[in-house]
């Protein structure tokens, strides 16, 4: 598809470097799917949906900085929704998120509640000022918050909050956040990997499964069309948590 034109309806600041953009187009995405956002004259980058008509973006580089310079009434180009999103399974689910990675989980949780599924959430942030969507997660059901500095909730990484739960109780666990955090969770909960769905990120160029820039070792799985949501047991033997490739294809650290 060619990019479709979308007018930004509203922009809301969620945290110092996080903003939500309301789009005027109904793309009917599933939680976990993404859209390629074209900031004209700058670049095109993949973004997760935080609701059917919003994307929530953390400013991390030139493209997202350029997007932050756009306000209500500005226009962007959109291709998508693309990829495989989360699939709801069972009647009692746990959402585990970190930072801006909580955005697609809030969307998923709301969809799950609408389907009569019990939702519990564990979300972690660096500090109190970085917390986003607290009201949305509170409205879903049980909520545990962690902060790295202990300013709110349990002090420490998201994994610290796992102690509060018996994971065997949940029919499915949904995970999204920085790769180091997701890897930390997956490696601590290996016996549950068959029921953990993780939404991951890789450098995308084409988003149509042909350029190869997002392929995961060692199987060559194309994240842009076969993901970005994968069962965790499929990630355990992959490059995930170990390294990721950049725009030029070289391997680098999987920080963030």
């Amino acid at each position: 598809m060619r990019p479709i034109d979308s007018i930004i309806q509203e922009v809301r600041s969620e945290a110092p470097l996080v903003r939500t953009f309301w789009l005027d187009k109904q793309l009917d995405p599933a939680p976990g799917q993404y859209v390629m956002v074209w900031i004209r004259g700058v670049d095109e980058v993949p973004m997760s949906f935080s609701s059917p008509d919003t994307i929530t973006v953390q400013s991390v580089g030139s493209a997202t900085q350029a997007l932050f310079n756009l306000g209500a009434g500005s226009s962007i180009g959109l291709r998508g929704p693309f990829g495989n999103g989360f699939v709801l399974r069972g009647k009692n689910i746990l959402l585990v998120g970190g930072g801006v990675g909580t955005a697609p989980l809030a969307f998923l949780g709301e969809q799950a509640r609408g389907a009569g599924i019990k939702v519990t959430s564990l979300v972690g942030f660096c500090s109190s000022q970085d917390i986003i969507f607290q009201d949305r997660f509170e409205a879903l059901g049980g909520l545990i918050i962690t902060t790295d500095d202990g300013s709110v909730g349990i002090k420490g990484h998201v994994a610290e909050g796992l102690k509060e739960f018996d994971l065997a109780e949940f029919s499915q666990i949904y995970l999204c956040g920085p790769e180091v955090m997701m890897w930390d969770i997956i490696s601590r909960t290996r016996e549950h990997a068959g029921k953990i769905q993780a939404c991951i990120s890789r450098y995308f160029k084409c988003a149509t499964g042909v350029c190869g820039s997002c392929c995961l070792d060692p199987e060559g799985v194309r994240v842009c069309v076969e993901g970005p949501v994968f069962m965790a047991d499929r990630l355990i033997e992959s490059e995930f948590g170990r390294y990721k490739r950049g725009p030029d294809g070289r391997k680098g650290q999987c920080r963030g």
């Binding site: 060619r2 226009s75 180009g77 392929c215 060692p218 060559g220 030029d248």
Partner: protein
């Protein structure tokens, strides 16, 4: 089932359906996956002497009957790619390294530094300054680059030609004079798409290359003319999406075909085309040699 084994430009392929350059060729794992899915051979993403990020996005636009791209030769440099080639080789089919440079010396240096089953010289990328078709549209440069790589490489050398020229046969003849073991035709057609809401060119690079079904007739004509006029084999690429397309390309004179844009349908495309080709040959009681260049024998 009839044999699909072909000898193409110094390589023996178990079937004539290869993965084209630039498609799923950034990692050894994805190349290996293409091989395991049934490709007769695979070609890497084009490798240069230094790492490149490529052009800003959008790098791709889906248009009617094709795909427009301006990736901009992103690659980790050939120095970082030997390990990927070694992984790709575990797929059990020949691995062709696509390479690019801005001079004969640069091409030769890369070929000397890589161990691959063959080299495909990218003298045809239409959207990277100083590279690709900026050299490849000049016959004397095509000959010089080919000659330099032939002298440096210990593997067959294929030359991928640009259709963005008045006479592609002239370029093919230059490659042949330089000692090429085969020519590969065609690379993408220089093209552009504009966002009518704003007037912005959609591709980050403004213009790029068109691939897919839209360019197949151009590729068939190019392969036909090259096969009639050259002594070296021609590998056909451009819009091959089905076994019927492969048959048409072989009848035009191709000894093998490469598949790129059609990988949008998934890795199953290799088996789909090979199987269709084998069934066709069986139904016609013919071999690949029988149909190769058939169109040229009707006049």
């Amino acid at each position: 089932m009839p044999s699909l084994t072909v000898h193409a430009g110094g390589l023996t392929l178990r079937n004539p359906v290869m993965l084209a350059a630039g498609i799923l060729g950034t990692t050894g794992a994805s190349l290996r996956r293409a091989a395991l899915a049934g490709a007769g051979g695979v070609v890497t993403k084009s490798l240069g002497s230094v790492p490149r990020d490529g052009h800003p996005g959008p790098t791709i636009v889906q248009v009617d009957c094709g795909l427009l791209n301006a990736m901009g030769l992103p690659n980790p440099s050939y120095k970082k790619f030997q390990e990927e080639i070694d992984i790709a080789r575990t797929g059990g089919v020949p691995v062709v390294a696509s390479i690019f440079g801005s001079s004969a010396e640069e091409f030769a240096g890369i070929a000397r530094g890589l161990d691959a089953d063959a080299f495909e010289l990218n003298l045809s990328c239409p959207h990277a300054e100083k590279y690709g078709s900026e050299l490849g549209r000049y016959p004397d440069l095509v000959e010089a680059v080919t000659g330099a790589v032939k002298a440096a490489a210990n593997a067959p050398v294929w030359v991928k030609l640009t259709p963005n020229t008045a006479d592609i046969v002239e370029l093919g003849q230059a490659a042949q004079r330089g000692g090429a073991d085969a020519v590969v035709a065609i690379n993408t057609l220089k093209a552009m798409a504009i966002d009518i809401e704003t007037g912005y060119p959609i591709l980050g690079n403004r213009f790029g290359g068109l691939s897919g079904p839209a360019i197949k007739p151009v590729a068939v004509r190019s392969v036909y003319d090259l096969a009639l006029r050259l002594d070296i084999p021609v590998i056909g690429v451009g819009g091959v999406t089905s076994w019927e397309d492969a048959v048409e390309m072989i009848m035009a004179g191709a000894c093998a075909v490469q598949v790129g844009t059609a990988l949008q349908k998934g890795y199953g495309i290799f088996e789909e085309i090979s199987l269709g080709l084998a069934r066709y040959l069986e139904r016609k009681s013919m071999t690949l040699e029988d149909i190769r260049g058939m169109a040229g024998r009707h006049y």
